[in-house]
């Protein structure tokens, strides 16, 4: 191995450099970008293949504070994944974004995102991880807000960013608490257990990026961005960052915090699956399904099946990216042929014939999502459920709810996957097509590649094998198989199968639902409506934001009307005092008399019947004499 720095540079900086160069030389935009990412990918693959031992590099960043980067097998694997999907997405975008004005900007931002994501994966130091964590968030913000001039988009980007920011704050607090506890932040050097507080804060930081409850609302908002971006960032890579972080720190986390992680993961998986069930917007369905799948991964880490989660991360990245790219194709197609609101499933239907390649890839990926055997999704989900089962048997009692809910979610997942598939591709088209359309190879080649990667064979020859096999195949030694018997694979298959069948029964082209689908209103019953709005989380954020804003208005009011005057009390007091003195001054030397003299004058009028005018020297003399008398009485 030569100097690791060179590899790191290649790995991390090349995409960024590509993005910037592309922005500067717009003529060679695509070539530069694709080449740089491709080259980077090649390096990653090379490194992965020739992997012997972790490469570690560290440098002093702040005085007496070192940052470190570790290239080990897992990070390399994920780096490869990210670069691969990124390459596909970039390729896809060459067509998809072709007519956009800001395509150079788009590629620049994308390059920046890839850079940040790679950094995040390679960072060994929690603080460095946080740095890239934030950068990834920024990139996400920038990409969501790509169409900044359109109504609503900047706002959605802001919400996504702010929700992430809140989580980041928790993460930073957690990291700094760890720093206070251990004096180091390098994950590979850390040992022992974090305190509960810091574990919780880190967990809540991770939830943010991985869109777990209560943060999950931002991911649906993020769907306003360009769809390839959604494929890369909001399906495959960035949202997995939280899971990745949890994966890295899981051995150090406090036990109770892990329990919470498991519970939150389960709940998120379940709720998001339910939400996905009632959506009309294709991207929203995918978004909720992403949330749900991330919930699975979180669950897996929580119950201790962290390798399984990582495996699910891997497989999910492929099939979900595939789904998104396919969705992008659909949207592009619809947009092209009808200029309709291109994301609403109520305008789709019957696309099977129109865009065949897309259909097939969508189908494969969808089945992987549904968790049917022979597809990657099944393998990884199986591992997680196995882990959960083992966890439940260990803890007993209520802990069984976790695998149970996981299984139910699997059913729902299959159900909505079927719904999506059927409503989009089967039956009759619900839109009038005005223009002809030919599928572009630039669209379906990447999609198809991802779809192929959802087939079991790429991971293990045995379709029922789970993550342990895959990892041991890669030579990752410490992957531990969490035993759970044969019950779980069976139940999982059953659930997925039942879900699919039920889905078909419900949403087959001639079912009542499918027939009325095009005029289906937004569900009005409270429960369904809440599901449709994703538990109204975004409204919750909005309320929160509104009240914070109101509070800030109140503070500003206080600042203007209260603090300012309070501090001006000095000024006002002295002005008042000076006015009093000025009045006194008048009594003394100039004009009207002061209180005593006025009283005297009044009495004088009464007694003498004359109009008494005010005195000046008199008053002064009076004052002197009064003071003499006062001094007199005071001292003697």
């Amino acid at each position: 191995m030569t100097d690791p720095l060179i590899w790191i540079c290649f790995l991390i900086f090349l995409p960024l450099v590509g993005g910037i160069l592309g922005y500067c030389f717009k003529r060679y935009l695509q070539i530069v970008n694709l080449t740089s990412v491709g080259f980077s990918l090649a390096v990653a693959v090379l490194l992965l293949i020739s992997y012997t031992s972790p490469i570690r590099y560290h440098w002093e960043w702040l005085p007496k504070f070192h940052l470190s980067i570790v290239i080990d097998q897992i990070s390399l694997l994920l780096v490869t994944l990210v670069l691969f999907i990124a390459l596909l997405v970039q390729f896809f975008s060459t067509e998809y974004m072709r007519s956009e004005k800001g395509i150079a900007r788009f590629y620049g931002k994308l390059g920046f995102f890839i850079f940040a994501m790679l950094g995040l994966l390679l960072a060994d130091n929690l603080l460095l991880l946080f740095v890239f964590w934030e950068l990834v968030g920024l990139a996400s913000y920038l990409l969501i807000g790509f169409w900044y001039y359109k109504d609503g988009i900047p706002k959605a980007a802001r919400i996504a960013f702010m929700v992430n920011r809140v989580a980041d704050a928790a993460l930073l607090s957690g990291i700094l608490l760890v720093y206070d506890q251990a004096q180091i932040l390098s994950i590979s050097d850390l040992n022992g257990t974090f305190t509960l507080l810091s574990s919780l804060l880190i967990a809540f930081g991770a939830f943010g990026k991985s869109a777990q409850l209560p943060y999950s609302g931002w991911l649906t908002k993020a769907m306003v961005g360009p769809t390839p971006v959604s494929a890369l960032i909001h399906a495959a890579t960035m949202v997995a960052a939280g899971v990745y972080l949890l994966f890295r720190v899981a051995p150090l986390m406090h036990e109770k915090a892990m329990l919470l992680v498991a519970v939150i993961g389960t709940l998120t998986a379940f709720y998001a699956a339910c939400c996905a069930l009632v959506q009309f917007d294709l991207k929203k369905v995918l978004a909720y399904s992403t949330i749900s799948q991330l919930g699975y991964m979180t669950l897996g880490i929580g119950v201790g099946a962290r390798e399984a989660s990582l495996f699910h991360l891997l497989t999910h990245a492929f099939f979900k990216a595939g789904l998104f790219l396919a969705a992008a194709s659909i949207i592009h197609f619809l947009h092209h042929v009808s200029k309709q609101d291109a994301q609403d499933m109520r305008y789709m239907g019957g696309l099977r014939q129109k865009i065949k390649w897309t259909y097939w890839s969508f189908l494969f990926c969808g089945l992987a999502l549904a968790g049917l055997p022979l597809f990657s999704g099944f393998m990884s989900k199986d591992g997680i459920l196995l882990g959960a089962w083992a966890f439940a048997t260990e803890h007993g009692g209520w802990a069984y709810l976790i695998p149970d809910l996981g299984l139910i979610t699997a059913l729902i997942t299959a159900f909505y996957a079927a719904r999506m598939l059927l409503l989009v591709f089967w039956g009759e088209s619900r839109t009038v097509m005005q223009h002809g359309f030919r599928e572009s190879a630039r669209f379906f080649v990447p999609t198809l590649m991802l779809a192929l990667l959802s087939i079991w064979l790429f991971y293990h020859w045995n379709p029922f094998a789970h993550h342990a096999h895959f990892f041991s195949m890669l030579g990752i030694k410490d992957a531990v198989f969490a035993g759970g018997g044969e019950l779980i694979p069976f139940l999982a298959t059953l659930m997925a199968g039942v879900g699919t069948v039920l889905g078909y029964a419900f949403f087959k082209p001639d079912s009542t639902y499918a027939k009325n689908f095009s005029i289906l209103p937004i569900p009005s019953s409270l429960g369904m409506n809440m599901l449709f709005r994703g538990l109204a989380l975004t409204d919750l954020y909005a309320y929160l934001g509104k009240y914070i804003y109101r509070f800030s208005m109140l503070l500003a009011f206080i600042d203007q009307k209260l603090i300012n005057p309070l501090l001006h009390l000095f000024a006002i007091g002295s002005v008042v005092f000076s006015k009093v003195l000025a009045l006194l001054d008048r009594f003394l030397v100039d004009g009207p008399v002061n209180f005593i003299a006025r009283a005297a004058a009044f009495l004088g009028r009464r007694l003498a019947g004359l109009s008494a005018r005010e005195g000046q020297v008199q008053f002064a003399s009076l004052l002197v004499i009064l003071i003499l008398i006062l001094i007199w009485t005071f001292f003697f």
Binding site: I596, A597, A599, A600, A601, L603, G604, L607, A608, L610, S611, A612, R613, G615, Q618, L622, I625, L626, L628, I629, W632, F636
Partner: protein
């Protein structure tokens, strides 16, 4: 006899003051002041300070009262107005004056006199004038020089002011 004269002189002072206190007429007040001042001069005599008494009569009773009378004439009389003045707040003035009186009396009653045992005979020194004259040129030479200058200043100032006043 001595006591009777003393009482008379005291009465002069008090009556003069009383008139000043009670009258509204400025001219009357000026004359009453003259009466008081002459009475005070008499008191000086009793204290064996003849020079002071003379100065008092000459300058004060003579000078000040006449000046005041002139002042009254020149200001109020010119218009043919009444030479009376209003009072402002007799009650409060009285209260404060009484307080002053009480304060001064209590102050005086607390005084310790360092020279109490001096007998009356020693007061009757004949060479008082001479002693004062010597003091003017020795102990108080500077003061003597200065008061001459002060008089000059007062003269020049008053005259100039009056001149300017009557010029326009």
């Amino acid at each position: 006899m001595m006591l009777a004269v003393q009482g008379l002189v005291l009465l002069m002072v008090v009556i003069g003051c009383a008139i000043i206190l009670l009258t509204k007429n400025v001219v009357h007040a000026a004359y009453a002041l003259g009466l008081s001042l002459v009475g005070i001069a008499g008191l000086y005599v009793f204290l064996n300070m003849e020079l002071l008494a003379v100065v008092q009569i000459l300058l004060y009773a003579g000078g000040v009262v006449i000046l005041l009378a002139f002042g009254v004439m020149m200001t109020n009389r010119l218009q043919g107005e009444q030479v009376v003045t209003g009072s402002r707040s007799p009650f409060w003035s009285l209260v404060i004056a009484l307080a002053t009186f009480v304060g001064l009396v209590s102050l005086f009653s607390g005084l310790e006199f360092t020279n109490q045992q001096v007998n009356i005979e020693s007061q009757a020194k004949p060479s008082q004038l001479e002693a004062i004259g010597v003091a003017f040129l020795t102990d108080h030479l500077v003061a003597f020089e200065l008061i001459a200058f002060v008089l000059l200043v007062a003269l020049v100032g008053a005259a100039y002011m009056a001149k300017i006043a009557s010029d326009d």
